[in-house]
Symmetry: C2
Subunit: 449 residues, 2 copies
């Protein structure tokens, strides 16, 4: 049932493509889905991919292109003429995918491609969609949908749906509009099938329909669809006219992207990269956070330098520098991650800021006391200095509490000022907590010795 791409398969396919063995290629890709074809295209050289692409059925090829990574698709489309893009690709795509793909082309090529689209209605729908910001509901929606009017009866609806549905690949909901195309509600296919032919739409339709404005952000669309388990959602303009609809498959991608982005932020990666990207792209994504880490390290060095005399007399103070820094970093990351995830999932609850901070204080205190006690006994038995044992344990408790509260506060503050709270996770919070933890430790040591 499932396709697993192997090196052997790829080599055989490339050989068949090279020999222009159409029948063999058709046999090899029998039953494959567009996603599977995209996986193959992704592993081929641009030349191989182009030759393979022209042996594919038009619709399968077009759908596969949509599944490709943007950078691979861009490289590929450079090799294809505007006329071929219009006829072989755009004509076979839904309006939303077509607009996305055209939006990625250089401006002059965009116009060329559009001028080659034969179906005028398709072309004008695409031009409409190109006006919307790609991160908005308008950028996600497709023009293809099935709608009926309030005054129609069930028999008319079914007849009309039959003709509209030819263009609509996935039909989940039938939208109900008035004579001005203002969205009034929805009626399910099930309801239409279960109602007598002569019933009017206005007698059976459901007024309650969740919808989004065309300028809503895509994260908001994803949130609503996810929260209310919707498979499609209608998009309206300022005065309520039905413009298009967004389907769940596009929104699953948004949800994945969001989750991936937060994960990458937490891991100190600044761009959306994949293991298969080039070493240069990977470096570019990783260096910024490392520079912050370096800066933190330099600050840390200055903090320690300030206590150089102290370390000369009590070199054992230096032993626990990494422990304090690491614990401060770990606790800060934990606290901020919980807040960031709570913000993303809207599961922070109704507690006020002070209640949240008090809870973090409590969590920090428990963790701090457990860990502080453990390290105290370790030092008590394995080191010669009682003072050192007390200094390390006291600082550890203080540092953990500070890191927990700081890690909670920063993402909440960022969020308040509409900055992505995920910025607070990963190297930034680690670095600040590292440096401050060190300072706290060395100061406590200085005071106690």
């Amino acid at each position: 049932m499932r396709f697993e791409l192997t090196k052997e398969y790829l080599e055989e396919l490339n050989a068949a493509v090279k020999n222009n063995a159409e029948a063999r290629v058709a046999e090899m890709i029998d039953g494959l889905h567009a996603v599977d074809i995209a996986e193959i295209l992704d592993e081929q050289s641009t030349e191989e991919a182009k030759a393979f692409y022209f042996l594919l059925p038009n619709e399968l090829g077009a759908d596969a292109l949509i599944e490709l990574d943007e950078d691979v698709r861009e490289r590929f489309l450079k090799e294809i003429s505007s006329e071929e893009i219009a006829e072989k690709i755009i004509d076979n795509l839904d309006t939303d995918d077509a607009a996305d793909l055209i939006g990625e082309l250089p401006e002059d090529k965009q116009d060329e491609v559009i001028s080659h689209i034969e179906d005028i209605e398709h072309a004008s729908d695409i031009i409409d969609l190109l006006h919307y910001d790609e991160d908005s509901a308008g950028g996600l929606m497709a023009k293809e949908l099935v709608k009926v009017y309030l005054d129609w009866d069930v028999a008319t609806c079914i007849k009309e749906i039959r003709s509209q549905a030819e263009d609509v690949e996935k039909m989940y909901t039938v939208y109900v509009v008035d004579d001005n195309n203002i969205l009034q509600g929805r009626v399910s296919l099930k309801k239409l099938l279960l109602s007598p032919d002569k019933k009017k739409v206005k007698e059976i339709y459901n007024e309650e329909v969740r919808l989004v404005k065309v300028d809503a952000e895509k994260e908001e669309v994803a949130e609503i669809m996810e929260k209310y388990d919707l498979v499609s959602i209608p998009v309206i303009d300022e005065i309520g006219r039905l413009l298009g609809r967004i389907t769940i498959d596009d929104v699953v991608d948004v949800i994945k992207e969001e989750a991936d982005k937060d994960y990458q932020m937490a891991s100190g990666i600044s761009e959306n990269v994949e293991s298969s990207d080039s070493a240069w792209i990977l470096t570019r994504a990783r260096l910024p956070w490392l520079l912050i880490g370096l800066l933190g390290g330099i600050l840390g060095a200055q903090v320690i330098e300030a206590y150089e005399g102290q370390i000369k007399i009590h070199p054992e103070t230096a032993f626990f520098i990494p422990l304090i820094a690491a614990m401060a970093g770990n606790v800060g990351v934990q606290s901020s991650a919980i807040v960031v995830q709570g913000l993303a999932n809207k599961s922070l609850g109704l507690d006020g800021l002070w209640v949240k901070l008090f809870k973090e204080l409590l969590v920090g205190l428990i963790n701090g006391l457990v860990l502080g006690t453990l390290i105290f006994f370790y030092n008590f038995f394995f080191s010669d200095s009682l003072t050192l044992s007390i200094v390390v344990s006291t600082s550890l408790v203080a540092v953990i509490i500070f890191a927990a509260i700081f890690g909670t506060l920063v993402p909440l503050m960022l969020n308040k000022y509409k900055i992505d709270p995920a910025l607070a996770t990963g190297p930034f919070i680690t670095t600040v907590n590292d440096v401050f933890g060190l300072f706290l430790y060395l100061m406590i040591g200085y005071l106690m010795y």
Copy 2:
């Protein structure tokens, strides 16, 4: 359109519930979705929640319960008698949700509840579902589906679908089976609507249907549905009989859970916790990784202790301990995160292990050289010791390269031995890299001075 729960709303609602002001409550919850009701229940005390619950329409209340967090639901159900659970909740749920809810009850209460379900067919479907592992396709599927037989004609189908559809809330696909209930394919409602009444199903159905075996893991189900943009998928047994179907809304939850889990692992949190959980649960989730960090800190202390003499003579060596440790940790987390995400998204490509490691080596080398050069100039201008400058820069390059390769290798190895590679992210990799980085740094310092 969207409901935002506020403290004021909650207080007003609780007052209305307390006064048993049914009409006011009904007015206040008008238009709310089950998810919104769940948000309210989540913020109420168990007593308030119970009183509120019994004022809700049965179906809305039952659906809201399903949306609650498991621990809140459990606490709530303790207060409700088995008979009430059966009649007010289970009777109003689809089989998959009903089975999930019953599965969470204590064993003796399970039997009691089931004995109170009036609809025998509903009860037996639920009992069937209870046998499946909740993390398998069987645990996700619902028994409610619409199916037609190969020999039926379109008119019969539509008639039968009308009667079957009454029980099926969301109908996306009509499944086609033979006389032995063996799944043969699917036919879309659209196709049925577009075909003449006398056509037989076998003339118009689509043989290609993606399906899952009943014992498939839920992650596999999620992967297939996400990859192929499916809104529902049929579940079959060993010999191909149609048992049920899984819908996208259940799978979106699995996708979210998976992403959340990886994110929490990377942040050093060992359980699925939320900011609104109790301080005790939060501590329990965070302490394990902190203990690993503590152990790492103790190992680090021992490494430094071994070079105590060195630090006594050159206390400036201690300045850069946090920098080296932090950079080692950051680079390790970055590398492992990229691999973990690549494994999760199946986007690692076909490159072999050596190619991957070579690329990491290259990335590490570039990052290392950039950062090593920067820190060299910093030290050259701001510290007195040329030796220290060289030691710090050399160690930094070595540590970064080591951490990059180690961070790549560990998750790949874990995955090979079927251990969750996400274990390699977060505190574990940070800790190992910290300790080893320190060792490398101090050793290089020892050799060069």
